[in-house]
Symmetry: D2
Subunit: 371 residues, 4 copies
């Protein structure tokens, strides 16, 4: 079962890159959620390939909602949306299944399916599947907004090195939302422009670059999540690592924490306007798998796009010998930019899951007077 997740809010993704359509079913959504369809479409379009640094494949990406929504309000029944596939060039993939592309899912997918998987355009393994994923994320985001939760991501760094720094204790959400209008969404426009140029350079060299997307969620109440397997990090990482090309996930100080000492890492508590806060946020809003009420800070590291037009060493599976391959399909030289709303979707779907779980297990009674 490759493409379903969620104990509370089931997300079932389906479709292949060159098949009839890709789509998603959300089951477990409460009834009575009024969807802002313009906002949802605008969110989906943030993922679309529209600029010089994106793939040449152009798709309308219009959702057809088949079920679960009536007069723009969720019915409480399964919500299915599909997106038709249009601009496909299957002939570009005639090197498959013989010569698997380095860095792609081709070889393990052939081994898994014993040759039965449809790998045209990478099939179900394609980044095209992040389209229904983002649709689902957009719905989850609107659900969370009814609770005052807001989510925004930016490109934190790219191969070139500079970091787009934000305040983890009190992030400027407006600046984050604003940056989504730019070609490379960074809070500091200069950094984004440098990144843009860097991606164009990589493209010119028939190469690709990786990068890091950082996502912030504010307004999340304390006490979501659980110790162990449904800890926020565990659940969120499951969604984040499902995004093709993600090879690392961290929260708050993350890997940097491994090089810190306790006195410098622990976030001290303080009262502020009658509310418990921490005066720094190395924990990324998460302690013991639970939300503290502070902003959640999650980062995902993306490897460089595997499809590059340079000649690469591979094997011929039929000939059982070494050979080479030049890939001529249309690909993004850097998936990181288009991945920004995908990362937001992962965070939104994880939080929707945990928020619904919280509704289910909300305590029967208080134990302490002062809570």
């Amino acid at each position: 079962m490759s493409s379903r997740i969620g104990r509370m809010l089931s997300v079932q993704i389906f479709g292949e890159s060159h098949g009839r359509a890709v789509g998603v079913t959300l089951d477990g959504l409460p009834a009575g959620l009024k969807l802002d369809m313009d906002k949802l479409n605008a969110f989906v379009q943030r993922r679309a390939a529209r600029s010089a640094i994106a793939t040449g494949r152009r798709e309308a990406d219009i959702p057809h909602i088949l079920s679960g929504v009536w007069e723009d309000i969720t019915t409480g029944q399964p919500l299915t949306a599909i997106f038709e596939n249009g601009d496909t060039h299957s002939s570009s993939y005639d090197f498959l299944p013989d010569r698997p592309r380095p860095g792609h899912a081709d070889y393990p997918a052939i081994m898994r399916s014993l040759g039965n998987d449809d790998l045209r355009g990478s099939g179900h393994h394609s980044g095209r599947l992040t389209l229904p994923y983002v649709f689902a994320g957009g719905v989850a985001m609107q659900l969370l907004e009814t609770e005052g939760i807001r989510i925004a991501a930016h490109v934190e760094s790219l191969h070139c090195g500079e970091h787009d720094i934000i305040n983890w204790v009190d992030p400027d959400m407006d600046a984050l939302f604003e940056c989504h209008k730019r070609a490379v969404p960074t809070v500091d426009p200069a950094i984004g422009e440098a990144m843009y140029q860097h991606i164009l350079d990589a493209k010119a060299k028939q190469d690709s670059v990786g990068g890091v997307v950082e996502c912030v969620a504010v307004g999340v109440p304390a006490g979501l999540g659980a110790p162990f397997f449904e800890g926020v990090e565990s659940v969120m990482a499951n969604y984040l690592f499902s995004i093709p090309a993600v090879k690392g996930v961290e929260f708050g100080a993350g890997f940097t924490a491994a090089a810190m000492m306790g006195h410098g890492y622990n976030d001290p508590y303080a009262m502020k306007d009658g509310k418990v806060v921490t005066t720094r946020n190395n924990a990324g809003g998460l302690l013991g798998g639970l939300t503290t009420g502070m902003p959640i800070i999650a980062r995902a590291a993306f490897r460089p796009t595997p499809s590059i037009s340079q000649e690469q060493n591979t094997v011929s599976l039929s000939g059982k010998c070494d050979t080479t391959l030049k890939v001529h399909g249309r690909h993004d030289p850097c998936v990181v930019v288009r991945a920004v709303p995908v990362v937001e979707s992962a965070v939104a779907l994880a939080l929707a899951e945990l928020w619904l779980e919280r509704r289910a297990t909300y305590p029967i009674s208080k134990r302490l007077e002062d809570l």
Copy 2:
């Protein structure tokens, strides 16, 4: 549902640090697995606190197997093992629930449970729960060994900075197994000794340090995992982030990949002794969420132990004011060393899950002659 995971092999952890017992139920284990009980106990003991750099709490950690094993062979029914709690000092925790410890689960756990959670010794949030986790991991490891899969981890780095480097293409498994006999398990003994001294220094300063554990799995066939939500990274990260104190997870080049270009990241394929291999392993044995047959390389970043004896700023929840706290419980100045078998367990449980899934979905027919 805080403490259960697994679609194929259900792992249900239970217990509190100062309750009667901690334990685990494994459901979904095939019948007929002959358990080497000595080996299993030895594995569990690797996690125990036995040296000067570990907590003063001393427990026998003997598993009582209640069900699912008959004459050392699995019956195919739920396997439950419990470990009694002995050496507990609940009075050390009388600052709770009023003054939550910075960096601990106390505050969010109080908010989640509205004061009903048992937080003595950190309760269900305690590192003590990694004991049944390791038991479960040890069983999973013996299951995987019947397929030729072997798993070993080491301390890759500590706060102090030096890295214990291993070969990702052809790791020396014997050296890894050998290093588990040392106080700090590093392949290079000198690095481990420096780390040991470093931890003692932190302890002397009433402080703590973090670090990174790296785990290798070899002998894993190509084709395990799936795109998206049951991708190997997604599943494994779920288990890894469930380990208390883990704040980052990466595979292969991981976060470093974000700073690479495609031509340098993609692992070229080659034929070697009639088998498809890659000549480097930046992918950590994982492409598109699927295993390639190369060694799996997973790393988990541990934050410094939250419990330190220095005075820290916190709040009084009853007084709704700022205050300070000095914690006097017994704690590890660095959990990284004892976490090595816990990380191995996470990797083993994830691979057992995926291997059982592979059995279930093994293709009905081959499509290609040459597979």
Copy 3:
């Protein structure tokens, strides 16, 4: 999460009666299953309303497979099929939401969704949803046929009383398959003809009738299922009770067993052609939740169709007063006949689930020489 089932083979149904389409996603299907599309379509058509005893709504019921099948072979990725809705008369439902129909889901659905559910044509609660269900069942059936498992159902009884009896120890499968060509599928044609006349009589009286469908599965190996929650009866009943209008499920002697004594109920074992068999089959092929290798005998009791054109007592939800209602939509006077392939689908999906589970947990080693 209303409409998903399956730990091994996930079945996600979606759609509303008067929405754009109804459909299903199967996730967890092994790759390499060659689908006989003609056979699959013929199976789906067995459910269609085609005779004088069926609803006047006429739909083409052509599946559009969006994903998961390539050149008629399953890829191992999610298989989604949709069926467009055509012949809908939403205006027939303008008594809703004010005056709920007795015997229908209207009232509880309004209460569940606080008025947000789309109840036109009964919405997601409609028998129309058994269309994708049957598609899924047809795929499961073809999967099971690769293992030699065959499934067939018949109308065992109707309101009028006569019972269509089959041999539980050695059922005549050819006769069962043959009977599916008749208007009312009974092994004894005379009983079916009497039933047909009986349904027409009920229709003439603006009334409806219930009945019992009995399903047989042969070729099922011994040892599928599990004690307790994944017992064959537990799992199969979950699928069977999901069929709208089913109010009772029993296996083998079923409720009759409650009036038997042990010596008469227990099925004695005997060796036959080197195989362990039972000489009668009161257990319906199921002991302790596990298959014995004997034919599985499952029965589902269907209540009479709730929609009848006679005036019935109901309430006005807005007026908070008693009132009456005459329903003028198009409905089957007896769903039992069209339900026969739906029951077969439930049995097939349950067995596919259990057979995949069996693959996953197949024992690592044999314990006894003589097995």
Copy 4:
């Protein structure tokens, strides 16, 4: 995965009849539920074998709560309780694995496990496992009572034929609770006494009898459940069929409905004291898989106890030949009486699951003014 159930409230049963202990873990229980331990123990004791019509095996059946409860209040963490096994006679089972008992799980369990299952005292397949099941049910019942839901069952009929009739529209709950004090719990004491005598007669003949348990749940709000796979009937049947020896499950008129006409089956709505009710309850409180607010009526048919002391025909698996068997273990001549609290537990666990689901998916907004 044989012995776990529940998407919202996970119930994991473990243990074997002649192993160290049997037990259960409940995960997903809200924090802050004050448990009445005396009431819980009294409920568990209702299942115990205490009279002349019960097995000779005598067990104390005292729960040891290992986790998840602190000062009698649930913590929100996994609740594990175990019951030690004491009075076991494993030598009574030395006919196994060679000569499987007719009507028992022996043969399919051997086939499933390839001989690895521990079948002493029927192992994990034993009715002994209903002990932790009843403990879990008792906890669920106390959870539901905080919402005003009350559950009670009685013996509806036994082999001998007379039926203990209750009012489905307005059941006398006090009479049902009262009847639990009698040896055979029937509302009509005379029927229970006749049943008692009947069981003694069967015992004297070395035989056994079956029967039907009927369970009522009142106070359940309208709108619990869902169409299809999480319909109340589907979910509840899953729990009910998990009880060993259950071979049929029905709701309301159940199988009788199959012989009714629509006008006689449909329950008319009426307003009563400002509340929507039905004037009869053929639906058993369930329409379209959803609760209507009327009493839920569920019935489970139990086959006669398989273990009888008469000589029965079986096979020798080693000799591959026919043979006979006389079973000398201690067994109940009729499990129906002790099954009454087990059926109540199944209903309670199913309703707890659905009630928690309802909390999670409670609508975001109302659509209609008049709801």
